[in-house]
Symmetry: C2
Subunit: 333 residues, 2 copies
């Protein structure tokens, strides 16, 4: 591991993106997103993912020149086409429009079709909540998990994001429908460790906490067994049918994961019923959560995003830990 | 078990509700909801729950005279107060308003505070989808599950509903954040059976599939471990802060579960991007799901609500199986 300052990382990403056809403005924003994801501890969708993002540009899967275009609108709803441009830029634009619509109509929804991987869903939750909006959004993905009762991968892990402004920061929940990502299973396998909780099925069809077994069967566990399987399906149904874009099964027929469908819903917090400050409501909820009797003494339950802010501040002051090989490769790009 | 015809059940519910202070119109609607929930196989929020509903009216927890009132509105958003009236009537009204707002604005959101238990969340999904709208809604509940990493119950199982029109019917996902309800744990315990999958923690803090152990510790498992715990918290945060109503922790301080907070979001399917019929998109998704290689040969994965329609039709033609003691008690009311 090397420690890399956030600003240095951002400027390296920026340099590489400009070299790969991004305008300065787009490179600024996109580099900022990849850096922030890493700063927040999500290297899998930050520095570790950046080389693949560049590769997708080189291969023409991600088109740096493409701009999202408005297909149609209806008061509080807008439908956009991502035109296979950079996923994070398309998603940020969609988030921005959703918040603008919410300012006008109380709630706003933007759908995005033919876009690319948005990297970390939380990015858009932090963005909207940082501007004072409640946010709800999701993406579909290629098929990477069997439906409940099936052995072959036909549903996506379709990450879902909820975000709410809180104190100076936000509460942001960003989670995939699979219990563990394949990346996480690889990490446990390489470390020779079992999963903390069962995460899939072995070749005998039994639940297992052995990552190697799951990587063999590719039968990753949906969260909550049949419940997460159903939720994954619904998120795909909503994303594809509302946007008029591709579904998980259609995306899976492509050579690479691209042309995704996404939904962004923002809610204004400026026109809530009078009589109760919503920050006080949330504060009460978090205060009560912290009164929990912890399983491990001293380890109170955390709220979604609590650790993120802690890690962000730590990495801001100390530098971001990065795999040396990955960082060397990025410097060479 | 006795077999009871749906129409007979509805008219008995109607009679009892009128005797307990409901107007004919309200009794019609409310009896229909309890009957339909039973017809769809959800007796726990239908016939088996009806006596407790009547008891709550008798005790003054549910006020049959109360009407929901509009607190404030802002274009596509309306905030209502349930005034502690019958939960199913309040929730149906909120669903109705959300679809009306969606017709006008593309998307509509209604929040409801100080309402009572809505019984089956799916009711409102079937209703909205039946009228051609996509639907997304949830309720908070009293605390009935420990947060991840905690031993005492401080979060709710906060059911979440997604619904989408499909063919002549709908796809409706309606699920709580706990893996199994306490009612379901009781059923397995009484039958002397283990749970099909781990559903909570035993007194040693280990995951267990023994329902008796979980009923002792009251440590029911959130779906997806920490993920469902986070989602439960977010749904409570959204419901309480958007509605200006009570949170799970505040509801839990009451003698009975009442004064809940709920969110209803409807989306118009009439202003989607041209070029692709959304029914065709959904049809493709379901067709692909059905191509899955099933774990049990012949048992293809089902989509949410698929079994409901099957059971509904069966119960419509054959009568609804009801516990004889429960039915006798209802006839005596």
């Amino acid at each position: 591991m090397v420690l890399v300052q956030g600003e240095l990382m951002r400027s390296e990403f920026r340099r590489i993106l400009i070299r790969n056809g991004f305008t300065e403005e787009k490179a600024d924003i996109c580099a900022g997103i990849f850096m922030m994801n890493t700063l927040d501890g999500i290297s899998s969708h930050g520095v570790n993912r950046f080389p693949r993002f560049v590769e997708y540009i080189t291969k023409g899967i991600v088109n740096p020149d493409a701009e999202p275009s408005l297909i149609s609108s209806s008061a509080a709803v807008e439908h956009w086409d991502g035109n296979l441009g950079p996923g994070p830029l398309n998603a940020l634009k969609a988030t921005q429009r959703a918040t603008e619509l919410a300012s006008l109509h109380g709630i706003g929804m933007v759908t995005l079709r033919h876009t690319n991987h948005w990297m970390r869903g939380g990015t858009y939750g932090w963005n909207a909540a940082g501007k004072g909006f409640a946010f709800l959004g999701w993406t579909n993905t290629m098929a990477n998990m069997p439906a409940w009762g099936a052995k072959d991968c036909r549903i996506g892990n379709n990450p879902l994001v909820f975000a709410m402004p809180f104190r100076e920061e936000a509460i942001v929940l960003d989670f995939a429908m699979s219990q563990y990502s394949y990346g996480k299973l690889e990490v446990y396998k390489l470390a020779g460790e079992k999963l903390p909780y069962p995460g899939g099925f072995d070749s005998h069809g039994n639940l297992t906490d052995d990552p190697s077994e799951i990587l063999l069967t590719w039968r990753a566990l949906p969260i909550g067994y049949w419940k997460g399987s159903g939720l994954s399906l619904m998120l795909d149904i909503f994303a594809a049918s509302l946007s008029g874009g591709l579904s998980t099964s259609e995306i899976s027929q492509k050579d690479a994961e691209c042309s995704l469908s996404q939904v962004f819903i923002a809610i204004s917090m400026k026109s809530l019923p009078v009589g109760r400050d919503f920050q006080e409501t949330i504060n009460n909820i978090i205060t009560d959560l912290k009164k929990s009797d912890p399983v491990v003494p001293g380890n109170e339950p955390r709220y979604p995003g609590e650790n993120t802010v802690r890690l962000r501040n730590k990495n801001l002051s100390e530098g971001i830990p990065v795999n040396e090989e990955v960082w060397d490769y990025i410097l060479s790009l």
